[in-house]
Subunit: 433 residues, 3 copies
């Protein structure tokens, strides 16, 4: 497990430095590295899709593509006090070009800082109104001497496209398990190099399940406009095929886990992830009112997909969020390993789940199958409590989640029991999902 | 708001001194003053109905009408120690005539006091068995010297009628909002000059809503026999038209608010008043087991109307209840103003309620409509939280109450949001009630 | 009540010493004594059924019958250190024959003790694998000197039968109330001479209800294999006729009461016994996960009968359980009397239950029927609160249990109210069960 954590961490570190935005070369480079990683493991690669600027996507329009070649502020001595090349966060996302000398006072109109964390550079964007801006630490801003400053951004907004990657791994059923993560945040670790890195390794895991029941759909998109774009092209298919979906974000730190519930907290994804978290780890259950990532689109009225959010510490709930402090020291191999463990448990549960029914009336005679102690004395019953309780509720109306919740036993243990009873011919699946 | 409180208080003070009972001139005089008040405001007047004594009303019979001309006890010195003319409470309601000298001991058989509040005159009646009686403070009774006393009541029980007033204000829909209050309690303020006074001013408010959706029905009746009589004449219409109803009683003091739930606490009136109280003020939720006023009849098996009770301090829960201490100092303009505010909020909610549905798939782009901050940075989302949460649940299955309860925002704020989104063409009402 | 407690205790004491097992003469002797007791009270007797060894009963097979003539361990001095004749618990149930001298070390391989209660003989069986064994106190075992010991058991496993008793007392309806208890535990008092003793006296009670509504079925069986056998012969009838069922075990001590809920805790038996316990006594509600007696079979998937368990202290929850300390001093006349009171209340509730509906609209006029105080003053309403609350919920959708739970009044009081209102012609039963 530690090994897998290290691998995911290491891959996250590769995509971490890239200057991503909702469109442009940063996204493409990230998707290229993911495909390199998948290919090296013998996995199929993501399909890369380009959606032209100007495409109408529901209430929105795919924006012009943003290209940035250079961006900095220099002082009178021509020293660059902030520079895109040093940290992409220094330039407000989607900044339009500027090339102008101003004095300190005017410069400050274009500087964004995070006052409550004075040594961090904040992450700021302005996608839908033309602006430019620079981000720096409040400390730096406050130490700037009076004088002239050169604001320089060599960027371009042009009719290009929005880029995303997707991969479908077919299973026996055309019902789909869906994973979504986003590739638009520049140069931050937990939010968001961690989601794409984890998703990449979940693809490898699913690919290793050669006899899988479900079809799995993974997408790597820019947040908000990307999920809206994806939905505008795929909504009908998704509504008719999606069995459960997970939005992965902030999955690399090693604090407690989080689920962001779906709109009414009653989808298969809610049931599944809640059960795994409840029986495995410490976690916080966030109401849909605390949503913040693409679960907002997947759960929107009329979209109504069964998608929950999965995180370690939730976005917005850790001080480093959306600042330069969200770096590779904030995430860890252990953090990734834990998230990977939870999500592979989720996958396993989907694969093994069913509404099992015991095939005999009354309790089966476990003794003759060596499943029960043959001497009956005080306490002899305890040892097989999970087994007999499983049987007591294996009436064809409960799936493994129901039984786990009812009898208080993790599904991983129930899967073993289910397999053992099936091997003895005592169990049937009353409902093949 | 204070102004309206003063007006209601002042009108309550006009009807306060009247010696009302379940039948007779007190009721008629009260209804006459209400019509005078309505007429002065350009409102339509109540229709006055007279139901003859002896009329069968479900399991009951309209009783004979009670007329009282005079009533007192005098001592040997011919001093009147209690007198109807001083306080109508001194004579037990529905007392039959008496004209008899007795000694102190026998007199006491006919005296009712309230032992636990020795300086108050209690309110006592005997509608359905022929009796006479006198009410006074325990202090007064205990200070009476031995001697002869003259019990004198000049009253009459005769084949007259039971009187009530009603007013229907038509709206676009024939679905009705119902208000009931009672006009049978003599010379007490909160219970019950306050209910008729508030109802009178709610008529003025509804009359001012010229474009109103609902039809409103107001009735002013004697308690119990009046509501039973009214139901016996109107039940079929009420069952097919009533959308929500409110019984108003004890609405003039300025303590916390109360709701008396309906029989199963699941009517539209329960939902509506509960939401307004929950989001506005401190209040107590009383189970239907604590019912005590005409909600008993409206909720009876087979009647099954969606009626809740609304009060400040509930009847029976304040020591002054049903005594001479329930006078105009127990109620206040602030108390009336608060009750008026709650009930006009209730009316507004009924008028604006609907199951709204957002007309676009995925989140609408609020930015292009200037409904969203254009710079995205930490915290920029918070400012429009109520708006986006409203949209998240505007899926055509939730009405404003559901959304208010779900997202924790008062309906008054939601009505503004609903109007703003409608103005942008983003909202439709999925269910015109 | 004390009288009945003494009678039940006394009868339990008669069957207490018998060396019962799941088959054999102990069961037959117990059933013979029960029939003697029933017959002496003019009750019909149990039918005795014999099911041949080898009969397939669902997943099980009726075992060979066990007969034991003699069993002991003797030391070199030919002193019997344990002896069946002294206490049947000394011989492991279903022991096969043995006649062998061994030294102390080997002897210990065949000795069962209860380490945590060193002065008690444990109750141990091995029904389904051929073994022999001896039970004694840990103290005794630890004091045995080295030397040779003679293990001697003269027993026999042969093609005989499994024995049980049943009695059906017909009522007006063919819907059945079911009582099950077991007669396979040797020489212990609470578990299990108490269940058969209580059941015997419940038969007498039901027999005394000459105008009874329900049919009552009582069975006296060996645990597990007996209920499985009984179900295999009667399942279709039981599924179509059983209205509520009760498994009686450990009902003679005078500690708090227990209910073991059915599989989903939503049967008529759950509702009925829960209500009686809740309103009468201190009790513990045990989830079906704490099941342990024949409710395991009655509630098994596909069997699905509405059966709960009733006990004082639950099996396994008292230290004396399944040891020689569970003797007649552990149970008491008071304990039996309490259990009898609860179960006869359960029977009474079944007999009187219905969904009653008040036959008038609005509140009935109680005054004219002398059911209501005629002077109305503060507090006069309280005295008849149960009556008016009953009426408020007598709408034809609630049975006595619903009303009791809703208004917080014991059903015994509601039965009186129901009878009084019925006598006044005010009530009808909307649903004849």
């Amino acid at each position: 497990m530690n090994e897998i954590g290290k691998e995911i961490y290491s891959f996250a570190d590769r995509i971490y430095p890239i200057g991503r935005s909702i469109t442009g070369e940063g996204v493409r480079e990230t998707l290229r590295l993911i495909n390199e990683e998948l290919s090296a493991s013998g996995c199929p690669e993501l399909t890369i899709n380009e959606v032209p600027s100007g495409t109408e996507v529901f209430d929105w329009t795919v924006p012009r593509e943003w290209k940035i070649r250079s961006g900095y502020i220099e002082n009178e001595a021509h020293e660059r006090i902030v520079d895109l090349a040093v940290n992409p966060l220094h330039i407000m996302g989607y900044s339009i070009p500027v090339d102008r000398w101003v004095d300190l006072e005017e410069l400050k109109d274009y500087i964004y800082v995070q006052e409550d964390m004075p040594d961090a550079i904040p992450y700021v964007t302005s996608y839908y109104r033309e602006r430019f801006g620079f981000c720096m630490s409040a400390d730096q801003r406050d130490s700037l001497p009076a004088g002239k400053y050169h604001m320089y951004i060599d960027s371009e907004l042009f009719e290009g496209s929005l880029t995303y990657g997707e991969l479908v791994l077919k299973g026996k059923s055309d019902k789909e398990i869906f994973f979504s993560t986003y590739v638009c945040h520049p140069h931050m670790a937990n939010n968001e190099s961690s989601g794409p890195a984890l998703s990449t390794f979940l693809i490898k895991y699913v690919n290793s399940l050669t006899d899988r029941k479900y079809t799995y759909r993974f997408i790597f998109i820019p947040e908000t406009i990307g999920s809206i774009t994806y939905l505008s092209k795929n909504l009908a298919h998704m509504k008719s095929h999606m069995f459960a979906g997970y939005n992965l974000s902030c999955v690399g730190d090693d604090n407690d886990y989080s689920i962001v519930e779906s709109r009414y907290a009653r989808t298969e994804a809610d049931r599944t992830l809640s059960n795994i978290l409840e029986k495995s780890v410490k976690y916080t259950r966030y109401d849909y009112l605390k949503r913040g990532s693409d679960e907002r689109q997947y759960n929107a009225p009329g979209v109504d997909l069964p998608v929950v959010g999965f995180s370690r510490t939730l976005f917005g709930e850790y001080p480093e969020y959306h600042t330069s402090k969200d770096d590779m020291s904030y995430v860890s191999p252990e953090g990734f390993a834990g998230s990977y463990d939870i999500m592979t448990q989720v996958i396993d549960l989907h694969e093994h789940n069913g509404r099992y029914r015991i095939k005999v009336l009354c309790e089966p005679q476990l003794g003759k199958r060596n499943l029960y102690p043959t001497v009956s004395k005080k306490g002899s019953y305890d040892a097989i409590e999970s087994l007999t309780n499983f049987i007591a509720y294996a009436d064809g109306t409960n799936d493994l989640i129901d039984i786990s919740n009812r009898i208080g036993v993790p599904v991983s243990e129930l899967i073993e029991i289910k397999d053992k009873l099936s091997a003895h011919g005592l169990l049937e699946n009353a409902y093949e999902q």
